[in-house]
């Protein structure tokens, strides 16, 4: 196991060994800790400055654990954050699902949207973007004059 971590640190590990390492979920903290030690050794040997910093992995991974899980381009909400839904709500949910599908088609929403993004609405579009576009590209003078008006 530990020899594999050393090989992982050097990127001298094959795909099967990566799979084996990652399958041992309960040992991952040890993997990261060893990698952190190896990094310090590496820095000293390379005469790099050893950083007076905290190891951020735990903090970062704790924040990432609250993020929806990536599912090959789709995102899956963590089960701990998912509300339990009783069966009598399914007709309502089904209707909502249809609406979402219609909205997705109409607005061409990307399925891999980031979790914190909101659906674009007309009022979200800054006027200066439309103006800047027309100022540079319009072949209709109407647009161009309006751009001049709004440019100040």
């Amino acid at each position: 196991m530990n020899e594999k971590i050393s090989s992982l640190f050097d990127s001298e590990i094959n795909n099967k060994e990566v799979d084996t390492l990652l399958s041992k979920k309960n040992k991952m903290a040890g993997v990261r800790s060893s990698m952190s030690d190896y990094q310090i050794i590496s820095d000293v040997m390379k005469k790099n400055t050893v950083l007076p910093k905290n190891n951020l992995t735990d903090k970062i991974m704790s924040a990432i654990d609250k993020e929806p899980t990536q599912m090959g381009g789709l995102t899956k909400v963590n089960s701990s954050n998912t509300a339990t839904i009783s069966f009598d709500m399914w007709p309502v949910l089904a209707s909502l699902a249809v609406l979402v599908v219609i909205a997705s088609t109409a607005f061409n929403i990307e399925v891999n949207s980031t979790s914190q993004s909101q659906l674009l609405a007309k009022e979200d579009i800054p006027q200066e973007i439309i103006s800047a576009h027309h100022a540079a590209t319009a072949n209709n003078m109407n647009h161009f004059v309006q751009v001049g008006d709004s440019a100040q």
Binding site: F107, N108, T114, S117, Q118, A121, H133, T137, M141, V145
Partner: protein, 316 residues
């Protein structure tokens, strides 16, 4: 010569004319692009978008090999646009704003100087001849070869090749935008003074182009572009300061020669929710996507799929 021989000779002449025209049917667009810049003309054209319609008086002249154009809005608030070929001056409600515009394709100068890129992305069809502003015009229809652009119907003056009418239609054949001359006269001699009588160029006006910092910064493109829709090439890159802060947003402009898309890369303010999706405002589609602290927006009078592809093409 018998009547039959006369008819036969006439037929041969017609066929020979047709065949020379068919050698390169795209040549008519090349001639038309040149005509819109070289000819002297004065007229009134009517423009209509999905939300409004307006009439414009235009004087265009080529004086000492320099192109001058004066456009005066006849409806609504008085306003004028003057171009001397390099700069564009927009005078409206006692304000004058000077812009440097790389792509001055205001109607009727709608065609690019290089027609080759159009050949790759549009089919060219000859339509019926029709009288426009009391002149005979040949209809040329450019239909998109794919779903990334709209169709352009251009009526070209039969004698001097100037575009007299333009209709842009979507893939359902609905009109998106149109402009058409109602009156036009050619070969008048114009004096430079008439273009500048309302604009005193000796005065210092607001100039939107002075920004050395911006120019320096633009050389540091920190993004990559994945595959774009066929035929669209970057034609300009503009950057602006965001609300007086020392941070910039970027506007990349792409064109296939007729269709234009602006791709905006804007840093997102802390606490602002990023947006994603596509909406249509009038004849313009807008697509938004969020990536790595930047709100990416694509804008263009092109199908929704096109703006979505542009927004998705940016990676950091």
């Amino acid at each position: 010569m018998t009547l039959f021989k006369k008819l036969f000779t006439l037929l041969l002449l017609v066929l020979s004319f047709a065949s020379s025209a068919m050698d390169d049917p795209w040549k008519i667009l090349d001639n038309s692009a040149k005509a819109s810049h070289k000819l002297n003309y004065e007229g009134i054209f009517h423009s209509q978008t999905s939300s409004e319609s307006n009439s414009t008086h235009i004087i265009h002249a080529n004086i000492d090999k320099k192109e001058y154009c004066l456009l005066k809005m006849l409806d609504g608030a008085p306003s004028e646009v003057f171009s001397d070929g390099e700069m564009v001056y927009v005078k409206s409600q006692n304000r004058l704003i000077i812009k440097k515009r790389k792509n001055q394709f205001l109607f009727p100068s709608i065609l690019p100087s290089d027609i080759d890129n159009l050949k790759a992305n549009y089919h060219l069809l000859f339509g019926e001849k029709k009288r426009i502003a009391d002149r005979m015009a040949q209809l040329i229809v450019l239909t998109a070869k794919d779903d990334f652009r709209f169709n352009y119907h251009i009526w070209i003056d039969e004698k001097n090749f100037l575009p007299l009418k333009l209709i842009v239609t979507n893939n359902k054949n609905q009109t998106i935008e149109q402009s058409s001359f109602t009156t036009i006269g050619f070969n008048k001699v114009f004096n430079k003074d008439i273009f500048q009588k309302n604009i005193d160029l000796s005065k210092l006006y607001e100039n939107q182009n002075k920004n050395k910092f911006v120019e320096n910064y633009v050389s540091n493109k920190f993004w990559n572009l994945k595959k774009l829709p066929s035929g669209f090439k970057e034609v300009d890159l503009i950057s602006r300061r965001v609300n007086g802060l020392n941070i910039l947003d970027y506007q990349l402009i792409f064109s296939d020669g007729l269709a234009y898309v602006s791709l905006f890369i804007r840093p997102i303010a802390r606490g602002t929710e990023p947006k994603e999706g596509v909406v249509t405002i009038g004849s313009t589609n807008i697509s938004a996507r969020y990536q790595d602290g930047y709100q990416i927006m694509s804008v263009g009078m092109v199908p929704a799929e096109t703006v979505s592809t542009f927004s998705g093409a940016i990676e950091f």
